[in-house]
């Protein structure tokens, strides 16, 4: 019984291991020390506290972006504005710390709040257009990502740029606005706690609140939601707003937690990793935590390999892409034969293919 329940998880883990092997083995073989590469990649991230800290730091923004994606996908919205919201949220947060006079204790929370609101527009606009005009949120959100990028670059160049910084970068973020580090020996900051709390809150929202229930109903069957008389347009817009706020807050938290200046010249790609994280977690906010940690672990392993060997870390991006491909492939991950093989009995296939016997 428990083996049967665990079968999908076991299949997922086995496939993840396979994907890592398929990418990393040939890559390692191009170097003079394949064993060393693999060892560093797989075990390096656990070698000391600093590297472990790196995993957690890197998982923080992707956790939040994954949560944002999950909230929107759960309500049936294919909104890809997370990437732009993350970028603009980071920029607007930094702008607020630099441009608004604030008492020291207000700097971080108020800037984050402003940054979240500004950044969230990248998700909200496609959501409103979908709800009001039935335009594809997919296309509009992809476009708005780039609008956010260039508007951000404009603000950076004209209002925030520090001419003494050399490269294009903002003035230094005031120290009082930076998020406190919470674990000595690492750079893990308060944002990680916020991200974990957000995932828990996300789970509570989706599964324990009225509007989260509304969102899941609309996402799982909009005809049913209409039959119940739910305000479908409002639910869509609300989900877009929540997703946008979370993604934009992630950008702000990333900035105040790890950076001293804003210097992103391109979209950082964190939102896309968030999509992968959410899909692997099946849009479940609690599962997003291990999912984000897994991708961060790969990233840290890749970084270590990149630093110590002549192997670029882009192999990790390839693993991300393959995981995304396979995680959505129903024929692979939900293959009844595979599940049956793992669980050791054949009821997995039976329950899937046959309608249940009529019970009186």
């Amino acid at each position: 019984m428990s083996r049967k329940a665990l079968a999908p998880a076991i299949v997922t883990v086995a496939i993840l291991a396979l994907v890592v092997a398929v990418v990393m083995l040939p890559l390692a073989l191009t170097t003079s020390d394949p064993a060393g590469v693999l060892q560093t990649f797989l075990f390096g991230p656990f070698r000391n506290l600093r590297y472990l800290g790196n995993i957690v730091e890197m998982a923080t923004p992707t956790m939040l972006c994954g949560l944002a994606v999950a909230v929107m996908f759960r309500s049936g919205m294919f909104n890809l504005g997370v990437e732009g919201a993350f970028y603009l949220g980071g920029l607007a947060t930094v702008a607020a710390t630099l441009l608004l006079p604030m008492p020291w204790w207000a700097a971080a929370p108020v800037s984050l709040l402003i940054g979240s609101m500004v950044g969230s527009t990248v998700c909200i606009l496609p959501g409103v257009m979908r709800a009001q005009f039935d335009t594809s949120e997919l296309v509009t959100s992809l476009m708005l990502n780039f609008v956010a990028l260039f508007v951000g670059l404009f603000i950076l160049n004209y209002f925030l740029r520090d001419p003494t910084a050399g490269a294009m970068a903002s003035y230094k973020i005031p120290v009082e606005a930076q998020l406190p580090r919470i674990l000595p020996g690492t750079r893990i900051h308060l944002g990680t706690v916020l991200a974990l709390l957000a995932c828990i809150a996300g789970a509570i929202y989706l599964f324990r609140t009225r509007s989260g229930f509304d969102a899941r109903l609309v996402g799982s069957n909009s005809a049913f939601a209409a039959h119940l008389g739910l305000p479908i347009r409002l639910v869509m817009m609300r989900s877009a707003a929540i997703g946008g706020l979370i993604a934009a807050a992630a950008g702000g938290i990333e900035m105040l937690g790890l950076y001293t200046r804003f210097s992103w010249q391109t979209l950082p790609g964190t939102g896309w990793v968030g999509v992968t994280v959410a899909i692997l977690a099946r849009d479940n906010p609690i599962l997003i935590v291990p999912s984000a940690l897994f991708f961060a672990y790969l990233q840290v392993g890749g970084d270590l390999v990149g630093r110590n060997f002549d192997v670029p870390i882009e192999g990790v991006g390839l693993i991300n892409a393959l995981v995304l491909l396979i995680a959505t492939a129903a024929a692979i991950i939900r293959n009844p034969k595979l599940l049956q093989l793992v669980s050791g009995d054949n009821s997995a296939t039976m329950s899937k293919n046959l309608p249940k016997a009529e019970a009186h």
Partner: protein, 303 residues
């Protein structure tokens, strides 16, 4: 602006529009078959990379071009297999192809050249430019429309040819039937999945062509992430073009012109960053306009 600089501007605009037209036509083929190819961005990038590498190793630009087309088409086939065989989600698989292309090209570039940024150490070839006889000699017209890269002419001819294909040939008509009403196509004995497979392959091939233009014409090297969202602009051009090949080309040229303005207006009065948003803002406005007009029509028919 004096006539000479206008002619020069038109020439630049055509150059900038070329990859948008080619990729836009690629998106068009896929949407007409009912399988939106959001992986076009990655297919362009992979095509650009394959063109540079293949031409450098063989010393032949045509072989580079062929490699770019085949690479794009192969990714299109991969997308079709993911969707039809592995039952994966079309959009998410397309996103995965974009991520894979970005990572994969950088990785391979490093393995081949030892550099992660640009391919300048490779002796890659460039596709030729073509002077149109007679026209090249006409003063302003020659500057504007002659002497362009061969793929610019391919793009400009490709749109009307694709329009003819879609409206005048059995294959094109069946492709549209597949995308618009698959059950009708199936009832007429057409294999829907097979048509969608080839449509995605062709879409990828156009993406590869667009990529080849970028790395073997627009510039003569491959750089990390050099497509920079052009695939998504092409997607928008197709949406604005409302499913027609000529409309897609017109929209792509409009968006390319906007991009040209953003390049040529560097140093002008308006900040270039804001001008650069135009190719992304225009499609959103076009969609809004389309939606409000449709809504008004609906209201009128209801009254």
């Amino acid at each position: 602006m004096d006539p000479a600089s206008i002619a020069e501007f038109i020439a630049v605009a055509l150059r900038v529009s070329t990859p948008l037209i080619l990729a836009g036509l690629g998106v068009l083929i896929s949407t007409r078959a009912g399988v939106l190819n959001i992986g076009i961005e990655g297919m362009m990038l992979a095509g650009a990379f394959a063109g540079v590498v293949a031409s450098a190793f063989t010393g032949s630009a045509p072989i580079g071009l062929l490699a770019a087309i085949l690479t794009g088409a192969a990714l299109g086939c991969l997308l079709a297999i993911m969707v039809h065989v592995a039952k994966a989600d079309l959009i998410l698989s397309g996103i995965a192809i974009n991520i894979a292309a970005a990572a994969g090209t950088t990785l391979l570039l490093f393995l081949i050249t030892g550099s992660k940024g640009v391919s300048s150490s490779l002796q890659s070839q460039v596709l030729p430019s073509i002077d149109i006889p007679v026209v090249e000699a006409v003063p302003l017209l020659g500057t504007a429309i002659s002497g362009h890269h061969v793929l610019t002419y391919v793009a400009l001819l490709g749109a009307p040819l694709l329009a003819v294909f879609l409206t005048r040939t059995p294959l094109g008509i069946r492709l549209r039937a597949v995308g618009e009403k698959p059950e009708a196509a199936a009832a007429a004995g057409i294999n829907v999945k097979r048509y969608q497979f080839w449509a995605l392959a062709a879409s990828g091939a156009f993406g590869g062509l667009a990529g080849a233009f970028l790395s073997m014409g627009y510039v003569s090297w491959f750089a990390q992430n050099m497509t920079a969202g052009r695939g998504f602009i092409a997607l928008a051009a197709e949406v604005m073009g409302n499913g027609s090949a000529l409309g897609t080309m017109a929209s792509a040229i409009l968006l390319g012109t906007a991009e040209t303005i953003s390049i040529t207006m560097q140093g002008g009065g308006i900040p270039s960053e804001l001008v650069q948003t135009i190719p992304y803002v225009v499609p959103i406005l076009a969609l809004l306009l389309h939606a409000t007009r449709r809504r008004r029509l609906l209201k009128r028919s209801a009254a």
